[in-house]
């Protein structure tokens, strides 16, 4: 692996400079080569310690059917990739000081009429016990988890001045009674609901703009075709005059859909409008193109082309101009997605028949391997805050959905039964409420 990187590096250097300079620069190149390495899951993440103290409960015991509030918050904190949890049974300044905990969360729970829980949640400064945040939720116990997610996103907003993802969702494909169906769950795998109920395969779900519904592929016509379904609405076919449509990608600014259509063995990218149902060819290229992905502000598009034989990742402008190749290392690089911060892409690469997830900079440099030696790992999707990547892996024997930090650390499984693949992360929910 390292040798391949070296070779690639050297060639780009050689190409980048005028021939006359090569002799002069050869010593520089050698110096540059030594700094390139492919890292595997070494965390360079900056985390913030946070204290989590169990909520005070009333004398008359609550029958917990779900996890308790502090347990839900602990899971949110661990999944967020932003915090290092310091658990304590009660407020403990010595422990918090020792662990560099500047803030802690706790609260109290009481019963209310109609089988409701009143949950008061607080964020405190450890040293002074000043309250930074106080929120009250009155909910049935089944809604407790979502209330805690809401509170946790407020904690992130207060401490990081950024939006958290605890209230976001994932769409993915679940095998139900032997048939792939599209499902949606909260980002932590809870509250799964089934979106498609077909006897034929449904797959490749992506989120419509504003999280209003999903676009996905179904095989009911015995050919892959795109459909969309608003939540609570009915399924609508998309672009029925085009043959074999798949690989949908929603423009985050306009809501338009970029996708692949295959006619007689040739696959091209098309762009279409969900409301008008009109679509046109996006780029006229000789090669086959699939797996489109938009840049965060929809100015550019990543896609996969087979012009070199195997799949490689390319980028071009939203008008199809200025096409350039991104990946050079390895023979199989596919399904890129653009980080919300805009600086990197995540993609799936195959080596010796095994799939693994990588990220790299937009010029193809600074390649980081995020998964290794743990079955197949594929279909990376960024959290909307850019901190995390969800993906599917069969490391446990069956395909399940996992979340990791964007540097490959802190891998957490969020689905447990059946077979789950192809996750795509929703947009933010907090600005929709």
């Amino acid at each position: 692996m390292k040798n391949k990187v070296k070779a690639f590096r050297f060639s780009t250097w050689a190409v980048s400079f005028a021939l006359g300079l090569v002799f002069l620069l050869s010593s520089w190149s050698a110096a540059a080569i030594d700094t390139i390495a492919v890292d595997v899951g070494i965390s360079v993440f900056k985390t913030m310690p946070i204290g989590i103290v169990p909520f005070v409960e009333p004398k008359e015991n609550i029958e917990w059917i779900e996890e308790k509030p502090h347990q839900i918050l602990t899971r949110d904190a661990n999944l967020s990739g932003r915090f290092e949890v310091v658990a304590s049974e009660k407020f403990n300044l010595a422990l918090f000081s020792r662990s560099h905990v500047k803030h802690y969360v706790t609260g109290k729970v009481s019963k209310q009429e109609g089988n409701l829980l009143r949950v008061d949640c607080y964020l405190y400064i450890a040293q002074t016990k000043d309250m930074l945040l106080g929120e009250t939720y009155v909910v049935p116990q089944q809604e407790l988890r979502r209330a805690m997610h809401k509170f946790f996103d407020l904690v992130i907003k207060r401490l990081w001045a950024e939006r958290g993802v605890a209230s976001t969702k994932l769409a993915y494909v679940s095998k139900i009674d032997g048939v792939k169906q599209v499902v949606v769950s909260d980002y932590d795998g809870y509250h799964r609901s089934q979106i498609t109920r077909d006897s034929s395969i449904s797959m490749m779900p992506v989120w419509m703009k504003g999280n209003k519904g999903l676009v996905y592929v179904n095989f009911k016509t015995h050919r892959p075709h795109l459909y969309f379904k608003k939540f609570g609405g009915v399924e609508q076919p998309l672009f029925p005059s085009l043959d074999q449509t798949y690989s949908p990608a929603v423009n985050p600014v306009t809501g338009e859909l970029l996708f692949s259509s295959t006619v007689d063995g040739k696959t091209d990218l098309y762009i279409g409008n969900l409301n008008s149902g009109k679509a046109r060819k996006f780029a006229y290229l000789k090669s086959n193109q699939t797996s489109p992905a938009w840049s965060p502000y929809a100015t550019e598009v990543l896609f996969t082309s087979d012009r070199g034989g195997g799949p490689q990742i390319f980028v071009m402008g939203k008008d199809g101009s200025d096409m350039r190749r991104v990946t050079f290392m390895g023979r199989y690089n596919e399904r890129a997605s653009w980080s919300p911060e805009g600086d990197r892409i995540a993609y799936t690469s195959m080596d010796n028949g095994k799939m693994n997830i990588y990220t790299c900079a937009l010029d193809g440099s600074d390649i980081v391997q995020l998964t290794n030696n743990a079955g197949n790992n594929e279909h990376p999707t960024w959290s909307p805050d850019g901190k995390l990547i969800a993906f599917a892996s069969n490391r446990s024997g069956t395909y399940q959905i996992y979340i990791m930090r964007k540097d490959g650390s802190n891998v957490t499984r969020i689905t447990n039964s059946g077979e789950n693949t192809s996750p795509t992360w929703s947009f933010f929910y907090d600005d929709l409420d």
């Binding site: 048939v179 395969i201 797959m203 015995h222 063995g265 996969t304 087979d306």
Partner: protein, 198 residues
């Protein structure tokens, strides 16, 4: 999804109109042949055609005629079903991440082409498939390229393009389960669905 299709051929005594319908069951590799007498009886009951209308008290000649006709149809039906099963069982295999036809694949396709030349009412759908390795997206394009190669070969052999349709299933419809090379090699394939046009 077991997207293999069984074709029930139904012949009506009067019109000799063949219709093909599909349902998502595995193909019959060993078709059960309905005994001719039983078939004739069913046909006789179902038929409302003026030509072969068997009346309850019809004379023996008409009954014999109807029976012969039914037997002839049944033989034709069985023959077509055998042919269809033959074509549907002729899977063409590919190398990993390749879509070129192997020599063996070409031999097999030549046989399919011969069958299609004889039975001009047959139209086919060529399904391209891949093994489980790789992404869903790229495997759709790969399956499409495989199906296209098969279509091009049959076209060059003399089968009109309008009798053939190609579709990619990517890695969504494996024939063999598992993660062994044996399973993979079974799944890197193109196979046929047969329709009969009037």
């Amino acid at each position: 999804m077991k997207n293999l299709f069984k074709f029930a051929l139904m012949a009506s005594v009067a019109g000799l109109v063949f219709t093909a319908c599909s349902n998502p069951e595995p193909p019959k590799t060993d078709p059960e042949v309905v005994p001719a007498e039983e078939y004739a009886a069913v046909q006789a009951q179902e038929s409302d055609s003026v030509v072969a209308q068997p009346v309850l008290n019809a004379d023996s000649l008409a009954a014999v005629k109807a029976k012969e006709e039914a037997e002839r149809l049944e033989a034709e039906r069985a023959r077509l079903e055998t042919l269809i099963n033959q074509i549907m069982s002729e899977d063409v295999y590919f190398d990993f991440d390749r879509f070129e036809l192997t020599e063996k694949a070409k031999e097999l396709l030549a046989q399919v082409a011969e069958l299609l030349m004889k039975e001009t009412r047959f139209t086919i759908t060529i399904e391209g498939h891949t093994d489980a390795r790789g992404t869903e997206d790229y495997n759709f394009t790969l399956g499409a390229k495989r199906a296209m190669k098969v279509k091009e070969f049959l076209n060059a052999y003399g089968i009109e393009g309008n009798r053939m349709e190609s579709v990619s299933y990517g890695k969504e419809a494996p024939k063999a389960a598992g993660e062994s090379e044996e399973a993979y090699s079974q799944n890197r394939r193109a196979n046929f669905r047969v329709n009969i046009r009037d």
